[in-house]
């Protein structure tokens, strides 16, 4: 009899533990910046989280959105304003400026050369690893609209989706780690 009560208590304890509300092992990150240095930091954090078993979800908004453009893709039927934004904003992660010491593009070239020499993973490699680790990328629909970006000019990435603020907030509410890359 007592053995059966003990086992029932153990079972109940297990169920209670499952019901307990609390932050999930999850990283909710807003990637607001479209700077090379900050994008590298964001992607190192995301892949690191993936490696740790912490589920990473990245929300790309505003300037960050431009980093997800694919330089080899073309979008048609843009209005003048969208075309202008398209010309002025970097076409993808390999054309991002540095937030400091940009020096008309010399800075990014120097950083990339330095990273290569130190055998550090490039942004291309970091995105590839992120895809392997299941890092989710969600793009702010309003930023796409504001910058005049179209879905057909966005990179091919296996875990990519479009969303609004509610999706971020719903994820962030249960995420144990929240970061804003400005």
């Amino acid at each position: 009899m007592s053995a059966s009560i003990e086992s029932q208590v153990a079972e109940l304890r297990e169920q209670m533990a499952g019901l307990r509300p609390g932050p999930e092992s999850k990283l909710a990150m807003i990637v607001f910046s479209g700077s090379l240095d900050k994008m590298i930091a964001a992607m190192i954090l995301a892949t690191g989280a993936g490696a740790m078993g912490i589920k990473p979800i990245l929300f790309f908004t505003f300037w960050g959105t431009a980093a997800l453009r694919d330089a080899s893709k073309r979008a048609r039927g843009k209005d003048l304003m969208s075309k202008m934004f398209g010309w002025m904003l970097p076409k993808g992660r390999n054309r991002l400026p540095l937030s400091q010491m940009n020096m008309l593009g010399m800075g990014p070239a120097m950083i990339k050369g330095l990273m290569k020499r130190k055998n550090a993973a490039s942004l291309d490699q970091l995105f590839e690893i992120a895809a392997q680790l299941g890092v989710e990328i969600k793009i702010c629909e309003m930023s796409m609209d504001l910058m005049g970006f179209q879905r057909e000019e966005i990179i091919d990435y296996p875990h990519l989706d479009y969303c609004g603020v509610a999706t971020y907030l719903a994820e962030a509410q249960t995420a144990s780690i929240q970061l804003f890359i400005s």
């Binding site: 092992s25 190192i44 892949t47 690191g48 993936g50 490696a51 740790m52 078993g53 912490i54 130190k118 055998n119 550090a120 993973a121 690893i129 392997q132 680790l133």
Partner: protein, 79 residues
């Protein structure tokens, strides 16, 4: 060195952050639960990062050793 045998040695030398931790997270599944992987790395950050990774991912760092330039980390797969 403790009383265990090494199932596999993996060479992560020359790879900086975050690659050693990314690689062990992908490679840990290549041995059975209970088996030990020896990781070779030249990244000093790994000395702090491997225990942090092990704690979060539920695995175990048995010990770390350093000889000229190379760090040896012994990782037991727990789950």
């Amino acid at each position: 060195m403790g009383d265990y045998s090494i199932a596999k040695t993996l060479d992560y030398k020359g790879l900086p952050c975050p690659m050693p931790v990314v690689k062990i997270s992908q490679d840990i599944g290549s041995v059975d639960v209970g088996e030990v992987i020896e990781v070779l790395t030249t990244d000093p950050g790994s000395l702090a990062d491997f225990p942090a990774w092990a704690k979060t991912s539920g695995n175990e760092i048995l010990e770390t050793q350093q000889d000229e330039g190379t760090i040896h980390i012994f990782v037991r797969r727990v789950k």
